[in-house]
Amino acid sequence: MSKHNLDYLDELEAEAIYILREVAGQFEKPALLFSGGKDSITLVRLAEKAFRPGKFPFPLVHIDTGHNFIETIEYRDKMIKRIGEKLIVGHVQDSIDEGKVVEQKGKNASRNALQTVTLLDTIAKHGFDACIGGARRDEEKARAKERIFSVRDEFGQWDPKRQRPELWNIFNGKIHKGENVRVFPISNWTELDVWNYIRREKIELPSIYFAHEREVITRNGQLMAASPFLNMDEEDIIEKRNVRFRTVGDMTCTAAVESYAFEIDDIISEISESKISERGARMDDKVSEAAMEDRKKGGYF
């Protein structure tokens, strides 16, 4: 026996690669859910490590709310070109046009909640039996109890009672027809781990993660990007601020933070010192204490 352990980033990386390969080995038709955020970008890097020089044994799936930051979409298309893998896009606009969901009204209207329907439809349409996502257990307490292989019924529901025990490094991916599994390879990573990994691997990110000047309004104490998607009225005052985004969601529900972190080193020291959790900047989590838990049970992550 020796007295040295793997460095933490090497260990987390090796675990994630292991999980991705388990997905490839155990499922017929997996997919990688790609949001354009740093966590799913990290997953793409890990998939390269798991499967190159071969192709990924799954396509990337992006649920496009139509309210994305333009920088995210540009990044996505450039990345797909670089890696040469297949991209499937599910449009929330299609779900609206088909009358499956109704657009929210009012000042805090967001398409964030609507995307669950588009996601489940996309899964059903393509018959995906496993969907890889970038959720992490440190994000929030409903996620702290999530398995790495999380079985969902055909309604996408997460049932805390039906969770399978996960022992050692053995993942049970057996499912019935109609069920699918959500798989979270970076479950054990923290926000800081992801940033340190991105720095180590020199991974390029969408520019909105870094400080830039932007027109914002202040709403419910948070800075929101001024955009045609945000319902604004005369009370909203648009001002220019130096900001960056800590998560990449819809323009209508992702708050910016005032920041002068122009480089990744600045971001890492900002996060190390920061005392607000990442999801604290998500309006959608603020609705109620159990907000995330409810959405997760409904098929959101």
Binding site: Y8, A50, W168, I170, I175, N188, I276
Partner: protein, 417 residues
């Protein structure tokens, strides 16, 4: 910096949630928005201080359904180390939860209430820690503030525990007197217990040495996936993708593929654009062999000189994890690393009463039961005895009707047919 994974065994009554809360709080691992929620909560301790147990509170679904999900994971880090806590409910019916949490832990913290000493629950927790092969144990004797920080009481409990540790086979045990509620000896040394000269809990967790099994003798590489690009320029490329589960592999090592028994030599080890000379336990890599042999998912590469057991008839410790009792007439699936095959429980040798550690002989094997069985598998398994090599000695049983994981197996011996 490395990662220490540990479990905490104890019930809410022992102050387990408070202990975890205290570790997070005093190591400043709680973020401002969580802290705000903590301070604005109505739940306070008797003296008006913040109830740290809130930090490990359950989900709405758990409260509504009166259940507890088996394991909640908590993350924190200090300058010296990263920590992952598997927080498992310690109530009697949750043996399966503790087994699950313990399967991936390097260390266990066992909590004892200083007013109660070693009780039935302590026996249960210690037995499970030993069964799952966690070598490093820290016994935290908690609520020392309620016994006037008495050294004599601490000493009595330590002596009682030593007898128990011997009985269940735990050899590496450390004792720390603490008060999670008041913060004594958790992160900072207690001024109330000057008689205690050892480290406080967090400094101890930060500095304990972790052992990695990287001996050649335990070199095991379960193949998960075969990388075959089949493009023009990579026509002959064939790499075996997997994670070294234990031991170490080097380029030019002679290896055997099990269960087929073919031999070859390692030509190259790859990790994307890197070509390391050696792959040690925990590393995910792609291995190339000098000979073209038929290898697929479920096979395992081992060092030719040190081969594991290969058998279809195995004696094992079983923990049953499903509400439906074990049915010896039924065919189940067994999953051992990347290998899945069918199996039957051929014989129940005995069960263990985990409160008294006495053997029991009856036919039924229900939720949370633990005992020794003989299992027969459809295909041979290439495994190590769990007591020698955890990474290649554990397996799960899956119910073929529900696809649910219903049992945890610690493989203990080959049975001659």
């Amino acid at each position: 910096m490395d990662i220490l994974k540990f479990i905490t065994a104890g019930s809410v009554d022992d102050g387990k949630s408070t202990l975890i809360g205290r570790l997070l709080y005093d190591s400043e691992s709680i973020l401002a928005d969580q802290l705000e929620a903590l301070h604005s909560s109505n739940r306070k301790n008797d003296d008006g201080s913040v109830d740290l147990a809130i930090l490990t509170d359950g989900l709405k679904a758990e409260r509504e359904q009166g259940i507890t999900i088996d394991v909640a994971y908590k993350y924190f880090q200090t300058e010296k180390r990263k920590f992952i806590i598997a927080d498992t409910p310690g109530h009697i019916q949750y043996t399966r939860n503790m087994v699950t949490g313990a399967s991936n832990a390097n260390l266990a913290i066992i909590l004892i209430d200083a007013r109660k000493g070693v009780i039935e629950q302590t026996i249960r927790h210690s037995y499970l820690v030993s069964l799952l092969g966690i070598q490093q144990v820290v016994v935290c004797i908690n609520k020392m503030d309620m016994v006037e920080f008495s050294e004599a009481i601490y000493e009595t409990i330590v002596n009682d525990y030593k007898a128990l540790a011997y009985k269940v086979g735990l050899t590496n045990v450390k004792y720390i007197p603490v008060s999670a509620l008041k913060g004594d000896n958790i992160v900072h040394a207690s001024s109330n217990m000057k008689w205690y000269e050892g480290k406080s809990l967090l400094p101890f967790l930060e500095t304990i040495e972790l052992e990695v099994d990287d001996s050649t003798a335990h070199a095991r590489f379960p193949v998960q996936w075969v990388v075959r690009p089949q493009t023009e320029e990579l026509h002959d490329y064939r790499g075996y993708a997997g994670r070294v589960s234990s031991g170490s592999f080097k380029v030019n090592d002679k290896v055997t593929v099990l269960p087929s028994g073919f031999h070859s030599t390692i030509e190259k080890i790859e990790l994307l654009d890197q070509e390391p000379e050696e792959a040690v336990a925990g590393m995910s890599v792609t291995i190339h062999l000098k000979d073209e042999i038929d290898i697929s998912r479920g096979d395992v590469l081992v060092n030719t000189e040190y081969q594991p057991e290969v058998s279809q008839l195995i004696e094992a410790d079983l923990c049953w994890m499903d509400t439906r009792a074990l049915d010896p007439t039924l065919t189940y699936f067994i999953q051992h690393n990347s290998k899945v095959t069918r199996c039957k429980i051929r014989e129940i040798l005995y069960k263990v009463n985990i409160n008294t550690l006495e053997k029991e002989f009856n036919e039924d094997f229900k939720l949370n039961d633990i005992g020794r069985i003989i299992i027969k598998t459809a295909d041979p398994l290439a495994f190590d005895l769990y007591q020698n090599n955890k990474a290649n000695g554990g397996a799960i049983i899956i119910d073929s009707r529900t696809n649910v994981t219903v049992g945890a197996l610690m493989l203990r011996a080959v049975v001659e047919d």
